[in-house]
Amino acid sequence: MVAQLTSGERQLALVVLIALALVGLAMGVVGRADPIGVHGLIVLVLSVGLTFLVLSSLYAPEPSAERLSQYYDDPSKVGIILAIVWGIIGMAMGVWVAALLAWPDLTFDAGWASFGRLRPVHTSGVIFGFGGNALIATSFHVLQRTSRARLAGQFSPWFVLLGYNLFCIIAAAGYFMGVTQSKEYAEPEWYADIWLVIVWVTYFLLYIRTLARRKEPHIYVANWYYMAFILVVAVLHIVNNLAVPVSLGHAKSYSAFSGVQDAMTQWWYGHNAVAFFLTAGFLGMMYYYLPKRAGRPIFSYRLSIISFWGITFMYMWAGSHHLHYTALPEWVQTLGMTFSLVLLVPSWASAGNALATLNGAWHKVRDDATLRFMMAAAVFYGLATFEGSFLAIRQVNSLSHYTDWTVGHVHAGALGWVALITFGSIYSVVPWLWKRERMYSAALVEVHFWLAIAGTVVYVFAMWNSGIIQGLMWRTYNESGTLTYSFIDSVVAMHPYYIARAFGGLLFLLGILVCAYNIWMTIRMAPAVQPTSTADLPEPRQIPVSPAPAE
């Protein structure tokens, strides 16, 4: 893969890697008495390892000019594999933390294995490791196809992909050592945050530069969603992570915000991370891979534009619904609640648009588990957004807040929507990227589909039951006006649901293991370049019917 880079790009890679190794060395030396020193060591080891990889092909012959007449898919291939690896790690951690709640002894008396440290490894592992890598990999694939242009440069895609994974590794390693900002989904400390800004700005510039060289005049709607994802995540990440470190050799930092302002900034970030990381980017996937797989154009392009702007502008205001009945001014809570309710309109417009696209192709949904993954994802998207608007109502929130209902809601979205649309997209894109006729086994895709659906349903129903029982127990009073149940009574009542939840998660984990095996065997299959199959194989150049590009 290094041989695909031009000699100039190889030299640039070498310079960047050596600079990074020096930064790692400096972190290790200055922070030797602190977890930042361990992080420095990780940076040093990884960048020296990659330096040797680049050196091994530094003097390989220049890649042929023929590459410029092809799309650049190597980073997408590696990104898909990394997504699956992170998915397995993150979901296995999820099963472990779920089991910890049912059987607390599973920490084995180790500090690193306590619930508070394992949980962010699970959340970051699945959201950033699995979801983020899948988003980066598919965004490169979709961007090139819809722009009819090759990625701008070959170095920056690798910088974005590998730099992002370095961030994920630093994050997870830090959690085990107890390094955290204590901000949900923004746990990594200041130096990891600065690194992510550099990586993310490069990602945005790469996207813009590739769009600038597009041959297709119209920017397809999937790109709008991917761009909203990249741009808004940058804004959210920078603002929420404004902090002052104790010293350059110290991992700990203090937020620039305090008290309720800190809470509001955090949940403005936290809810928009759901909106723009876990929704906008994955809607980008949906708007490309679902029509492509179904072989039918999206039902209404107009509706996709209106719902794009609706989601973009409405989500920004919804974060304060996380802070009902707190010190936050009541009008801000009401604002968040109102926008959360209005948000249902563009959300259901997207879900409906996806399902209406499939209307007339239901026989394909029946026969093709890959398309069925995407159909089920759209259904869960509709369910989860309805539930979200409902839970944002202050009076409903008084029952649901701090209970497992919230956890169930998050997983209806994360398993039912995000993971299912990702698996559908991955099963579509893997044969296209590796130029195989199909996945190794359609039966295994079917097995995965039912494991994923069963796992999600078991999980969500367990948490609905658990959450509503918890909420009711916490607000039940006896005749003398005191609480009927102690807190520990509600904990005991949760036990069977926690076992059910861990079982649901286990089913979902088994599903991704089946998926990993299927992808592995697909890659090992002989490339099927048969004249009968024209799906995604290079065809003789045809004059496009649409407005012809000038050059």
Binding site: P291, I298, R302, I305, I306, A535
Partner: protein, 56 residues
């Protein structure tokens, strides 16, 4: 002009409201403008092409 709470509330209740509504109207006009329909139609059909090479 000091940037206090009252100033920000006044700004968001006037200009903030105006630009959000103006933007919403603008988006709906753009999406429903009859001349754009053929462009949208080409856009949604074009991703279904089997052509898998960059255009030159």
């Amino acid at each position: 002009m000091s940037l206090d709470h009252e100033t920000l509330v006044a700004f968001s209740k006037s200009w903030g409201l105006f630009y959000l509504i103006a933007l919403a109207i603008g988006v709906v006009i753009y999406a429903l403008w009859p001349a754009n329909l053929s462009k949208f139609h080409v856009a949604k059909q074009s991703i279904l092409d089997e052509d898998d090479k960059p255009w030159t």
